[in-house]
């Protein structure tokens, strides 16, 4: 009994880690330019594929090389998307930007489908998959522990970056007042580009982990993207801590629903939780109420 509970919690932590790596990009981009970047789930997918293509092209490329490289390349794609598709629309109606983001997502899905094919792929297992005994008879696989650990480490690095560096401070300032950021002598476009780069890199890490734990396909970003988006909203969109909290909460609810109730109820419970939470706390768990502009 205890063993299965621990296994389920670890499954939840692994899924939550992947959600969080995606949700952070949603929340950071929303925090800076108030865009729900609906292409973000597809950037997560693209990150998984870039990782897949790297290990296919150079067989034996270790994960410690492949993952940073895939994150870097995906970051460049994220910056490119912002530059080409979103920047001109920054002062346009919100709806134009949202529709554009949806279009970018569909483009990415079809691009990958065209280039790599529609079938699901397995990323070669690159994480050690031995088992570790936690305590009397409770064993866990090493890859699961590593995925959770590396994800948490990335989140800690992100938190430090956002709170301890001048660029991170500028990113938080953009959420407060874009004009004033420029009046500090800061290149707003650069700060926004960096935000997209970081969000995309984290999503790529999520895509690679997802490919390690499960498999990748061109449409994986739709379901996972929505879930991560929900997680970000539950936590309070715009808040980094909220995105992480919401991700683990959502994954926990999902995994436990599948384990102890029924897998058919998974989405019903997840979306139900979203509705319930938004009724109780419209700005999410960590969200702050919208400040009225004076």
């Amino acid at each position: 009994m205890l063993d299965t509970v621990i296994q389920q919690l670890l499954n939840a932590a692994q899924l939550g880690a992947v959600y969080a790596l995606i949700a952070l990009g949603y929340t950071m981009v929303y925090g800076t330019i108030r865009l729900i970047n609906f292409a973000h789930g597809d950037i997560f997918m693209l990150g998984g594929y870039i990782g897949f293509l790297l290990v296919t092209a150079v067989s034996g490329m270790p994960l410690v090389v492949m993952m940073p490289l895939a994150m870097l390349l995906t970051a460049l794609v994220g910056m490119l998307i912002e530059r080409v598709a979103y920047r001109r629309l920054r002062n346009a109606q919100r709806m134009s930007l949202v529709i554009t983001a949806l279009g970018v997502g569909i483009f990415l899905e079809n691009l990958v489908r065209l280039l790599v094919g529609p079938q699901a792929r397995q990323l070669p297992a690159q994480l050690p998959n031995g088992v570790v005994e936690l305590f009397n008879g409770v064993v866990v696989t090493e890859d699961k522990i590593l995925i959770i650990f590396i994800s948490l480490a990335l989140m800690v690095i992100l938190w430090l970056f956002v709170h301890r560096t001048l660029m991170g401070t500028a990113m938080r300032a953009v959420a407060d007042n874009k004009d004033a950021v420029q009046l500090m002598g800061i290149n707003l476009n650069m700060v926004i580009a960096v935000t997209f780069a970081i969000g995309s890199a984290l999503a790529a890490a999520g895509g690679i982990f997802f490919g390690q734990a499960y498999s990748i396909d061109p449409y994986m970003g739709i379901d996972l993207g929505w879930k991560a988006f929900i997680a970000a909203v539950i936590g309070g969109i715009g808040s980094i801590e909220g995105a992480v909290l919401g991700s683990f909460l959502l994954a926990g609810v999902e995994v436990l629903t599948v384990a102890y109730l029924s897998s058919n109820m998974k989405n019903g419970i997840a979306f139900g939780l979203l509705i319930l939470l938004l009724l109780l706390r419209p700005n999410g768990i960590m969200g702050r109420p919208e400040l009225k502009k004076v």
Partner: protein, 239 residues
């Protein structure tokens, strides 16, 4: 040639023209006051100088160099700081983080403490509250923070948009004393104000804007004595 020169500047919001070819000159070391009623085009002028607004016609020269086509952050690095209407502080960042961001274009060599010294000497209250989120400051303290940030950019010209707005008379005096002190240390100031009495007390020269046109210009004393200025802007205000 003035430090900052505005020549034939026109700015339009869509099809509505807010400025109709204004000319304005500010010399090094001056406090120049730009007066006028609500909607006369005062803020528009400042936003055009800091390039937050594109301008249709005319030119703005800083030390003889045109600002046309520059993005706002480049204008700051040239030495023009703009304290916008409503102060534009970052409420979720601490006082210190607000000040720190304003050093973006500067080299941050040397001790950080020395960097903040001039600001904390002028506004000791900011030092007391340096770890507080700026959103928790009072209106007067927020205005001090906005001025402090402008100082941190190491600017040669400060564009101040209604620094007295929403402040009690005592705080207005305090803010104006600080502006005078900033100017005494060598920073040129372009001061937009509705509180014409206060503005003309500290300014060397002034311009009066009405409906997007300069209708009057002169020394602060001349303007303060001018019957039209008295009627329009000094009438029922406690100077």
């Amino acid at each position: 040639m003035g430090l900052l020169e505005i020549r034939g500047l026109s700015v339009a919001y869509g099809s509505i023209k807010a400025l109709h070819g204004i000319d304005l000159r500010i010399d090094e070391g001056e406090i120049v006051s730009l007066l006028g009623a609500n909607g006369a085009g005062k803020s528009t002028t400042l936003r055009a100088v800091s390039r937050l607004l594109p301008f249709a016609e005319g030119d703005i020269l800083f030390q003889g160099t045109s600002l046309a086509g520059l993005p706002p952050h480049r204008v700051v690095s040239l030495g023009i700081a703009h304290v916008p209407e409503g102060r534009g502080i970052f409420p979720s960042l601490t006082v210190l983080e607000n000040l720190k961001l304003a050093t973006w274009t500067r080299s941050r060599k040397g001790s950080a403490a020395a960097l903040y010294r001039p600001v904390f000497d002028l506004f000791p209250r900011l030092e007391e509250r340096k770890s507080q989120p700026a959103g928790t400051l009072s209106g007067g303290e927020q205005q001090m923070l906005a001025l402090g940030r402008a100082m941190m950019t190491d600017c040669r010209v400060m564009l101040l948009d209604e620094p007295s707005m929403g402040l009690s008379p005592i705080l207005v005096k305090e803010v104006f004393r600080a502006i005078r002190e900033i100017n005494a240390k060598g920073t040129t100031v372009l001061l937009v104000e509705q509180n014409a009495g206060m503005a003309l007390k500290i300014a060397h020269r002034g311009y009066v804007l009405a409906n997007g046109r300069i209708v009057l210009a002169g020394s602060a004393e001349e303007l303060a004595r001018d019957q039209r200025v008295k009627e329009a802007y000094l009438g029922n205000r406690a100077g």
